[in-house]
């Protein structure tokens, strides 16, 4: 067993999963919306990047920012269709899930109809360079994935920690009722959150399509994994989601290297079920230091 390869794989997967899970977690806790159209936003971000590579420039920065911007744009579309009209109606959680599933189905089929079922490859945005150190091969692709997701996540988390808008989003994540009492508008904040999480999905999409391809249903597996990781981390906790992403990425890399890639989903969900059985509130339940009121 080659621990070097496992570590590098795990690192790369952890970054991509972490980006997705943080997006899902923020959406759920601040808007009360389980965004099942996240997979569609993910795929749309990939196609945005592909279009930019075809028509504008193959430069890495152009491709990546096209993916991020398209993701943010479709995040706003989901906000306009599935949050704005129904967020204050009774049983919004269920209605929101149904609305986002509908957007996801319609969106994926539209992508299929417009772009065709054939998968598209994005240009290698990080180049082909690689360095070898102590038997571990680190490709530019892995390094680029890790660096760009850490940078973007870092910027997002720093912004949420230090700005007025970030305070607004965090306040809404913790207590939406009290947030409206201090003058925070739910709909406006929802717009920021959906654009932000859409951008994260767009980034994850560009990064993941360095390994896989852009296809109409490319977002389905990332959505399911991202959602499961967010659940495992304790929906609503950013730190929990990041820790869960690392644990599950390590699990995935080890499984793939030892018993084979086809068993990844089995061990993945086995582990998630185990964690939820032991800590029903997910990993965040361990981190949370608040007194029960």
């Amino acid at each position: 067993m080659d621990w070097g390869i496992i570590a590098v794989d795990a690192l790369q997967l952890a970054c991509i999963y972490g980006t997705l899970a943080v997006g899902i977690s923020i959406t759920w806790s601040s808007l009360g919306l389980i965004n099942l159209a996240y997979g569609f936003v993910f795929a749309a971000g990939g196609y945005g990047a592909w279009l930019a590579a075809e028509h504008l420039s193959e430069h890495g920065i152009a491709v990546m920012s096209a993916g991020i911007l398209t993701g943010a744009l479709f995040g706003i579309v989901v906000w306009a269709l599935a949050f704005l009209p129904i967020h204050d109606k009774p049983n919004f959680t269920m209605r929101g899930m149904i609305a986002t599933v509908a957007i996801s189905l319609i969106g994926n089929q539209t992508l299929m109809w417009y772009f065709g079922p054939r998968a598209k490859a994005l240009p290698e945005i990080f180049g082909y360079a690689q360095v070898e150190y102590a038997g571990i091969v680190l490709t530019a692709n892995t390094a680029g994935t890790v660096a760009s997701s850490i940078v973007l996540l870092g910027v997002v988390l720093w912004w949420m920690k230090s700005s007025r808008r970030g305070l607004e989003i965090r306040a809404m994540m913790m207590n939406p009722h009290a947030a409206s009492l201090v003058g925070i508008g739910v709909r406006r904040t929802g717009l920021y959150v959906m654009a932000l999480t859409g951008a994260l999905a767009g980034l994850a999409s560009v990064l993941l399509s360095q390994v896989y391809y852009v296809s109409p249903f490319a977002g389905t597996t990332p959505l399911i994994k991202g959602l499961a990781i967010a659940l495992c981390g304790g929906l609503g906790s950013i730190a929990g989601a990041l820790i869960a992403a690392v644990i599950l990425a390590v699990n995935e890399a080890i499984t793939a290297a030892t018993i084979g890639g086809q068993y990844v989903l089995i061990t993945q969900f086995g582990l998630i079920i185990l964690i939820i059985l032991i800590r029903p509130r997910g990993i965040a339940g361990i981190l949370d230091r608040a007194r029960e009121a």
Binding site: D88, L167, E168, A171, L181, G183, I184, R291
Partner: protein, 249 residues
């Protein structure tokens, strides 16, 4: 300290003017055609038993009940009207018009620090610019908070949380403070000191309405005491009277 009503007090502008307000949740009707006026600079107490609509009155003013109808004017702007669903939809606009509602129980952001909490209270545009000055003032009012500024609110005790909640309300640039049962769930001594603090706050051109079950905490210290029973306001008494009156509640 009792404040003698000056003749020109009557001419002071209304901060809050409620006309024919009914509100409730689903099929339940809690408030029945209420009227209420609060002038600038006034401190009003509302007393009544549990479940008679004190909190619902406050929530209705903030647009947080299940449904409501009737006129609510805050600083001359209509913020009420008829609404059958969407609680909280317009609350932020009412807050920006100058409402600070300090809700019953502690509606806190458990993961934020005390300082972030106070900042969040200054979320409205004008207050945000002056938040440093306002924070200093809030710390003047609640000195124990000064050494807790970087502690996460989820780890504070009940009394400290209440102070944070009240402080958050005071941070906003509000003209009307609605304080819902400030002594609820606190040890009598702490509850009393919280109320002492509320009474000591200089109101200026703003106004404060305090809901309480315990009349003795308000007696002789507010400008007016209004009784609330079964969703209606009853038996208004000015301070001098309230001191002499025996309340059944």
């Amino acid at each position: 300290m009792p404040v003698d009503r000056q003749p020109d007090d009557v001419a002071r502008p209304d901060i809050l003017s409620v006309r024919g307000l009914s509100a409730g949740y689903g099929p339940m009707r809690i408030l029945h055609d209420l009227d209420l006026n609060v002038h600038a600079g006034e401190r009003v107490g509302i007393v009544g038993l549990n479940g008679h609509g004190k909190s619902t009155l406050f929530l209705a003013i903030a647009g947080l009940t299940g449904w409501q109808r009737g006129s609510i004017q805050l600083n001359g702007h209509e913020v009420g009207g008829t609404r059958s669903q969407g609680p909280g939809r317009y609350t932020h606009r009412v807050v920006r018009r100058g409402l600070a509602l300090i809700p019953q129980g502690d509606e806190i952001f458990h993961g934020l620090t005390v300082e972030e909490h106070l900042d969040s209270g200054a979320f409205t545009k004008t207050a945000w610019r002056e938040r440093r000055r306002r924070k200093a003032w809030v710390l003047d009012v609640f000195p124990p908070l000064a050494k807790l500024m970087s502690v996460s609110v989820g780890r504070l005790s009940g009394g400290e949380r209440r102070m944070v909640c009240l402080g958050r309300g005071l941070m906003s640039d509000a003209s009307l403070y609605l304080v819902d049962e400030p002594s609820l769930g606190l040890a009598p001594k702490i509850g009393k000191s919280v109320l002492d603090t509320l009474m000591a706050i200089e109101l200026g051109e703003s106004a404060m309405v305090i809901a309480e079950q315990n009349v003795s905490l308000l007696e002789g210290r507010v400008d007016r005491i209004i009784g609330m029973h079964a969703g209606k306001l009853k038996g208004e008494a000015s301070v001098s009277l309230a001191g002499a009156m025996r309340w059944e509640a």
